[in-house]
């Protein structure tokens, strides 16, 4: 089984990098010719280019309320990286499911069928009212499910009609040439029982959070059983922070400096590659790898880890 490796572009991380207006007045000795015309979009494009050049299969853009919208960023960089997948995350409260599907279809048509959708994990009730979202806690799962049902419905059927709790459509669906592209691959997240059950019914890929090997294994087994009951197949993904260096001590030192999280994979290139291969053996097919410093670490991981992981999974396949 081929694994897919995506690099995370976190639009809220390293907020001062390439954002000239965020740096304040420079008092340095050097002549600074940068203008506010240079901003994070140049950096996003550069990270995506780094991911493409180091043979990642795509980039994953999480939804961050305080920064640029992931779907806008994905489109803005798409023509500069013509081959890799672009997974954009947004909340199910973004608006009409029909309109979201329409935008996805355009993206697929114009940017060559590389779009993935990640539905953002639910916000707290307080955050939701700030964002003008009136749906109650107990209805969030149902809304996400109906959002996906309607979006897939107008994509796959014509005419499509639906009268639900959150969305209503009559005579919907796309005609040629809009009906010729595949629906984006759907990534869902969450460790709760309800979240796993929703993924069993609606996800193409369930993206687990980084966690211990043991708990990941039990989550995978739980989701597998639920999906089986639904008669569906759900691929397993993992959002995994990594920090790899030529030697393990350097990696530990830099991980401490970066205050990287508890379940990050930290070590030398061989170690980290071996751990990723183990996770692949556990059934993880989609890796969303991330590190605090997106550009430099994309090179570190893409140049040194991914080739090793590919060799290891090749051996694994041969052994099987």
């Amino acid at each position: 089984m081929t694994i897919q490796t995506y690099w995370q572009i976190d639009v809220a991380a390293e907020p001062a990098r390439s954002e000239i207006s965020a740096r304040g007045t420079a008092h340095g000795l050097f002549r600074d010719v940068r203008t506010s015309a240079l901003n994070r979009y140049d950096y996003y494009a550069q990270i995506a280019q780094a991911a493409a050049q180091t043979a990642f299969d795509g980039v994953f853009l999480p939804h961050r309320r305080q920064s640029d919208d992931a779907a806008i960023v994905a489109a803005a960089i798409a023509r500069e990286v013509p081959r890799i997948d672009l997974i954009a995350e947004f909340p199910a409260s973004a608006g009409s499911a029909v309109y979201a599907a329409k935008q996805a279809v355009s993206f697929q048509r114009l940017a060559r069928e590389r779009l993935g959708w990640s539905i953002a994990p639910p916000l707290s009730a307080e955050e939701r009212v700030r964002d003008g979202d009136r749906v109650a806690d107990e209805d969030l799962i149902a809304r996400t499910e109906e959002f996906l049902t309607v979006a897939r419905g107008v994509h796959g059927e014509h005419p499509f009609s639906h009268a639900g709790r959150f969305f209503e459509v009559r005579g919907g669906g796309f005609e040629a040439p809009l009906n010729r592209v595949p629906f984006p691959r759907i990534f869902l997240q969450g460790e709760s029982e309800e979240a796993l059950a929703l993924s069993a019914r609606s996800a193409d890929v369930h993206l687990f959070a980084a966690q211990s090997f043991v708990s990941l294994r039990s989550q995978i087994e739980a989701l597998d059983a639920l999906a089986l009951r639904e008669g569906r197949t759900v691929d397993f993904g993992l959002a995994q922070p990594v920090l790899a260096r030529e030697d393990g001590d350097e990696a530990c030192r830099d991980a401490a400096r970066a205050a990287i999280g508890e379940f990050a994979l930290v070590g030398d290139y061989d170690d980290v590659a071996a751990r990723l291969a183990e996770l692949a053996r556990l059934g993880i097919r989609y890796f969303v790898l991330s590190a605090p410093s997106s550009l430099e670490e994309a090179y570190a991981v893409g140049q040194h880890i991914l080739p090793r992981v590919r060799v290891l999974s090749e051996q694994l396949r041969a052994a099987a």
Binding site: R79, G95, Y99, D131, G132, G172, L178
Partner: protein
């Protein structure tokens, strides 16, 4: 005073010629010889170009020819302006993306975030053409079950919230359609300019909404006296409601070196439209007041193109040649400039122009017609005669 001229990006494919009905640019026509974006490579296979590659050519042509930007229309079978704009953001330098959209389809806070993000991606080149009327069965196709007048109420509230979270921190709002508590964009996003807002809509409910939020009131071209009255009424009515409204016209041109050449293209185009299609016209059921006003011009009875000349250089059969409004301007470069000058004199503050094919005509109109404006084009005309 200067006038903003926009061009249009055709989002439903483009005709290679005003004389023929085929959408031979884009994939609304079958992939075959003579089609482009996508086209056929030398082995007879899809050459890999996508329609966005052609749209990029048009946007760059418009930008280079002096247009400030382009309208990007949105209908059920078009590509979407919220996707087209960011895709082209980094390919263009000054081109403004006028996104046509119906506010009801997006959560206003999410829309504000998307818009501020697009402003950052483009260096502040986002403009909105807010559409509310539309309607008929198409609204339910879009998943929208609100009535015509409710939709205007919703548009007003949408823009209240959209602007509120952008301009204020701790913004709260209790509307009929939207409620927000303690909202606001992050400083990174909030420091961007709110996009200029263009409104369409001829009904009373539309004008009420426009008076509160619109920078420009946009109309299709109508016979000049009728349009003059309409603009005067809009300006008066919105002033009474406490707003200030600039007015803009959206119009197609067939501009040629001589008037004869311009009418020849119209005649050939008209003759290529079959009788049956002429009777059917284009477009479907709608509860848009603007569309109804245009349908009064519908040329279903015409047997000769001359039957549709409603005034000097004004032809009412454009909707036979391509989707969209019926009335357009036909003439020599000088005549086209004179008609645009006349519209300016009658209260037009900005334009969205278009011509078919959009790529070549962007250069032609930008290079041949726009430079003549405001230079007493009438005198140039006299000199030419």
């Amino acid at each position: 005073m200067t006038i903003d001229f926009y061009w249009r990006l055709p989002t439903h494919g483009c005709h290679g010629s005003i004389r023929h009905g085929a959408y031979d640019r884009g994939d609304w026509s079958p992939l075959g010889p003579g089609n482009i974006a996508p086209g056929l490579d030398r082995n007879g296979e899809d050459d890999g170009f996508r329609y966005i590659d052609h749209l990029a050519e048009i946007a760059k042509a418009a930008e280079s020819a002096g247009f400030i930007g382009g309208l990007i229309p949105s209908f059920p079978n078009t590509d979407d302006p919220w996707v087209i704009s960011p895709l082209l953001a980094r390919d263009t330098k000054t081109f403004r993306f006028m996104i046509a959209f119906q506010p009801g389809f997006l959560n206003p806070v999410h829309a504000a975030r998307m818009s501020a993000s697009l402003q950052r991606a483009t260096g502040g080149r986002t403009v909105f053409n807010i559409i509310t009327g539309g309607g008929g069965p198409a609204q339910l196709w879009w998943g929208d079950s609100f009535s015509h007048d409710d939709r205007y109420g919703r548009t007003t509230e949408f823009l209240d919230v959209f602007k509120g979270v952008w301009k204020e921190t701790n913004f709260s709002y209790q509307g009929q359609f939207y409620q927000v508590e303690d909202g606001g964009l992050s400083p990174l996003l909030a420091r961007e300019e709110i996009p200029e807002i263009w409104f369409s809509g001829s009904s009373d409910a539309a004008l009420q909404s426009a008076s509160k939020h619109a920078d420009y009131y946009l109309s299709w071209l109508e016979p000049f006296d009728q349009l003059t009255d309409k603009f005067a009424r809009v300006k008066e009515r919105t002033a009474a409601l406490g707003g200030e409204q600039k007015c803009a016209v959206r119009v197609d041109l067939v501009a040629r070196p001589t008037e004869e050449e311009a009418w020849r293209d119209i005649r050939l185009g008209f003759e290529n439209v079959g009788d049956q299609r002429r009777r059917q016209g284009r477009g479907g059921a709608t509860d848009s007041v603007g569309a109804a006003r245009q349908q009064a011009l519908r040329p279903s009875e015409a047997t000769r193109y001359e039957d549709l000349i409603v005034a000097p250089n004004l032809w009412g059969g454009f909707n036979l040649l391509r989707g969209g409004p019926a009335l357009g301007i036909v003439g020599s470069y000088e005549q086209c400039a004179a008609r645009l000058d006349e519209l300016i004199a009658r209260g037009t503050d900005a334009f969205i122009l278009a011509g078919t094919p959009h790529l070549e005509e962007a250069y032609r109109v930008g290079e041949e017609v726009l430079p003549l404006l405001g230079r007493k084009a009438d005198l140039l005309l006299d000199a030419a005669e």
